[in-house]
């Protein structure tokens, strides 16, 4: 399937380049998003390249960076990383029928994933059907994760390892938006294949929803025959900002096989809240997200695997200098900072009645330059403290990164 997909893209790109040699004016950038756009729109709110009058839109982004990290004084040295190259391919079959896809190559070709590939059928602005490989809309980052949109090279820890980011699945559902003069209301609701027991049986030695990403079988069949529900409601006030509430839940374990009951059904529940705004006076962008996870664990399970987790991040991005530089008329410099915290195991030890830890705290100041809005050059510095589940003295981690991320 991946090969076929790549073939389609390559054919598209080749035909694109043929056209390009003939007349570059045939290409045009799709207009950028309006102010009423929300996280739900992120899948289409990307710079696509359209080929003449064809219904085909292509695009993508790539991310390259250096990485120099030190943990308690020990460093593995400098590395160069091509974290991902993502290709978009979409098209309108009709004004009410659209197809959009996203294929991601991570760390070279170490991982190739179809992250999104869905057909959208519009009945009404407030009622659309979507089916295919969808990104479960839990939190905001999962919906809106394109690298060039962010001033930070690393994705938020809570969004990648806790939730997990870009967790996509086969399924179907509905979504829609309702506009008034000041407000925009949006919703999404999907039933998809779900998680599996690797979330509590993995080499991370902690409850980890992201461990289920390794299970590629989820694109073929459900691990237990029970669909995972993911739903999100978001509201945007054009003057204040956007607030989203999302939920994801279902049975994660294989409780029966061949008609035999193997174990009690065990559920997981995830709640997330997200918010983003731009302060009008200072043009400061604030993006925040927090999530709570509750997993029903067998009582006799290893203590490192927590039944409750929570975590999130706050990004503050401040444009500080906007001036034409070497031909970039809208060149803008930014100063930003990200604060993150994740508690991987909320609770107390039965034996000692003391707090369980397994916590991560991170602060990441950043400088970035956007010569154009869709390209960002970033310098990040991260200080992170990581406590084990017993609460022993934390590992102190420092990372310096420099890189570029750009749509193409």
């Amino acid at each position: 399937m991946v090969k076929q997909y790549i073939s389609v893209i390559l054919v598209s790109l080749i035909s694109h380049s043929v056209f390009a040699q003939i007349d570059s004016t045939l290409f045009k950038r799709k207009p950028k998003a309006d102010s009423g756009k929300m996280n739900i729109d992120a899948v289409y709110n990307r710079p696509f390249l359209q080929v003449g009058r064809t219904p085909l839109g292509i695009g993508g982004y790539a991310e390259l960076n250096t990485n120099y990290g030190v943990t308690d004084g020990i460093s593995e040295g400098l590395s160069f990383q091509m974290r991902r190259m993502t290709l978009f391919l979409g098209g309108s079959l009709h004004s009410k029928i659209k197809f959009m896809s996203e294929i991601e190559f991570e760390d070279g070709t170490k991982e190739i994933n179809i992250e999104f590939a869905a057909l959208d059928f519009q009945f009404d602005n407030f009622f659309n059907f979507r089916g295919g490989i969808v990104v479960n809309p839990i939190g905001a980052f999962n919906q809106n994760h394109d690298g060039p949109k962010w001033e930070f090279i690393d994705r938020p820890i809570s969004a990648t390892q806790l939730l997990p980011a870009t967790f996509s699945n086969v399924g179907m559902g509905i979504y829609g938006k309702k506009y008034t003069k000041q407000w925009v209301l949006a919703y999404e609701a999907y039933l998809t294949n779900g998680f599996d027991e690797t979330i509590i049986d993995n080499e991370f030695s902690r409850t980890s929803l992201s461990a289920a990403k390794a299970n590629k079988d989820r694109f073929e069949e459900s691990s237990n025959g029970k669909p995972l529900f993911t739903g999100k409601v978001a509201i945007r006030n054009r003057k204040i900002g956007e607030l989203g509430l999302s939920y994801m839940g279902g049975i994660y374990n294989k409780f029966q096989d061949d008609g035999f009951v193997l174990a009690p059904k065990r559920a997981l529940n995830v709640f997330a809240i997200d918010f983003n705004t731009v302060l009008k006076k200072t043009k400061t962008t604030i993006t925040a997200e927090w999530a709570w996870i509750n997993v029903d664990l067998p009582s006799s399970y290893a203590v490192q695997y927590g039944s409750k987790q929570n975590g999130g991040f706050v990004d503050v991005v401040q444009p500080v200098f906007k001036k034409p530089i070497i031909g970039f008329s809208n060149s803008t410099f930014y100063v930003s900072c990200r604060l993150e915290r994740v508690d991987w195991n909320t609770g107390k030890f039965i034996e000692t009645s003391t707090k369980m830890y397994d916590e991560t705290f991170s602060i990441m100041p950043a400088l970035s330059w956007r010569p154009i809005s869709s390209t960002v050059i970033r310098l990040n510095y991260r200080r992170q403290k990581q406590r084990d589940f017993l609460g022993n003295p934390p590992a102190n981690i420092g990372i310096i990164q420099f890189g570029v991320s750009s749509y193409f």
């Binding site: 030190v70 308690d72 690797t198 049986d201 290893a302 100063v335 034996e351 000692t352 102190n396 420092g398």
Partner: protein
């Protein structure tokens, strides 16, 4: 100054900061290493390149997390070595283990009912073990891993020389070795001393393991449910199974344990520490926690004929009724415990979640409490400690915390 000028100044300031940030040495803005004597991990001196490579592979084996798909369980105590020995230090009560079924030197009467170790956790879909009716049991906190190679390299003759079963010197202390039967895969040392076909155990709270291979293979099997070519019997089914860990990985881990450095004492020259040590000796704590031992010959240069300060005699001592759990291993009595090495004691809290959990089951929440729970052969020392002034007690504890 208008807003545009202010922004210009701000931008330049930020640019200069960024350049400064980049040009600053990484050492100044990135986390530095803790002092060598503040952590337990690290190697002994003089490892060869090949030994270092093996040590690093062993480190990987030590931190490897097993899952059901890589062999964990189905019954287990924990899923990795490091989960019970964080930072190579002592364990926490939440990861302690329970052994049951043996009350005398006649052996464990519950071997066919899951003995000697309780696997109180199970992978999804399995029920954990419970202690069989009628079996007595004891809880064990994981000991620290550091310096074990030195303890392994002490000759049997040296251990026996410290033994005084008849208490001929009338000091009230009569340490004895724990004579144990060797598993098939355990080969005695070339200069090993045996008694009735049994050998001197030296690892574990009851000295129930002969050497670090013995200890490691048992831990894989009994703690994690991982079978190997050394110990192929699955703890759940009782059947022999294909190895779930390679011999090479086990031998890497054994070398890792052998070559972890000995904990380094801190503030050795401090007068309080010196005074505390003098009180430690005066209170006759050093009669069992002997300050100095010497290794015999070893193929590892850093362990060959080295003097070290573990503060143990590797012998079993009567510790009194309060610490008698009515469970034992080998020929040891239920009230006998191997003298715990005191090195690394001051760093125990850094692997036990910020608070110490001392003695075999972690019941003592301070050094003072641990001393006060010493009985049997240690009664005289305990009373001498009790008779010290508050200041003297603090000095003695300060010395112990420096180890």
């Amino acid at each position: 100054m208008n807003t545009k000028d202010k922004m210009n100044i701000l931008f330049r300031a930020l640019l200069i900061s960024a350049i400064g940030f980049l040009s600053a040495s990484c050492e100044k803005i990135l986390p530095s290493s803790p002092e060598e004597n503040e952590v337990l991990d690290g190697t002994i001196d003089a490892l060869s390149t090949a030994e270092t490579a093996k040590f690093l592979r062993g480190d990987g084996a030590f931190t490897r997390v097993f899952t059901s798909s890589t062999g964990l369980g189905p019954l287990f105590v924990s899923n990795s070595c490091i989960s019970c020995h964080a930072g190579d230090g002592k364990g926490h009560p939440s990861t302690s283990l329970v052994r049951f079924g043996q009350i005398n030197e006649m052996g464990n009467q519950f071997m066919n009912q899951g003995g000697p170790q309780l696997q109180h956790r199970a992978v999804v879909g399995f029920m954990p073990e419970t202690i069989p009716s009628g079996a007595t049991h004891s809880t064990f906190i994981a000991p620290a891993n550091t310096g074990l190679g030195f303890l392994e390299a002490v000759s049997d003759a040296d251990i026996l020389a410290l033994s005084d079963p008849e208490d001929k010197n009338n000091d009230g202390i009569s340490g004895v070795p724990n004579w144990i039967e060797l598993a098939d895969f355990v080969k005695p040392k070339s200069n090993a001393i045996s008694k009735n076909g049994k050998y001197i155990g030296r690892f574990g709270r009851k000295a129930g393991a002969y050497n670090l291979l013995n200890q490691t293979v048992n831990a894989y099997n009994q703690d994690m449910g991982i079978v190997s070519s050394f110990s192929a019997k699955d703890t759940f089914s009782g059947e022999n199974q294909e190895p779930e860990v390679s011999d090479n990985e086990i031998m890497d881990l054994v070398l890792y344990l052998q070559t972890l450095k000995a904990p380094l004492q801190r503030n050795v020259a401090n007068q309080d520490i010196k005074d505390g040590k003098a009180l430690f000796v005066k209170s006759q704590c050093s009669s069992c926690h002997i300050p100095q031992m010497t290794t015999g010959s070893s193929s590892i240069a850093g362990l060959n004929n080295k003097t070290f300060a573990a503060y143990t005699d590797l012998l079993m001592h009567d510790m009194g009724k309060a610490l008698d759990d009515n469970y034992t291993e080998g020929t040891a009595k239920t009230y006998e415990w191997r003298t715990t090495p005191l090195w690394g004691l001051g760093l125990s809290k850094d692997s036990q979640g910020g608070k110490v959990h001392l003695l075999h089951d972690g019941r003592a929440k301070s050094i003072d409490e641990a001393i006060s729970l010493h009985g049997g052969e240690a009664v005289n020392s305990r009373e001498k400690y009790s008779a010290l002034s508050t200041n003297e007690k603090q000095l003695l504890i300060k010395f112990l915390e420096s180890l």
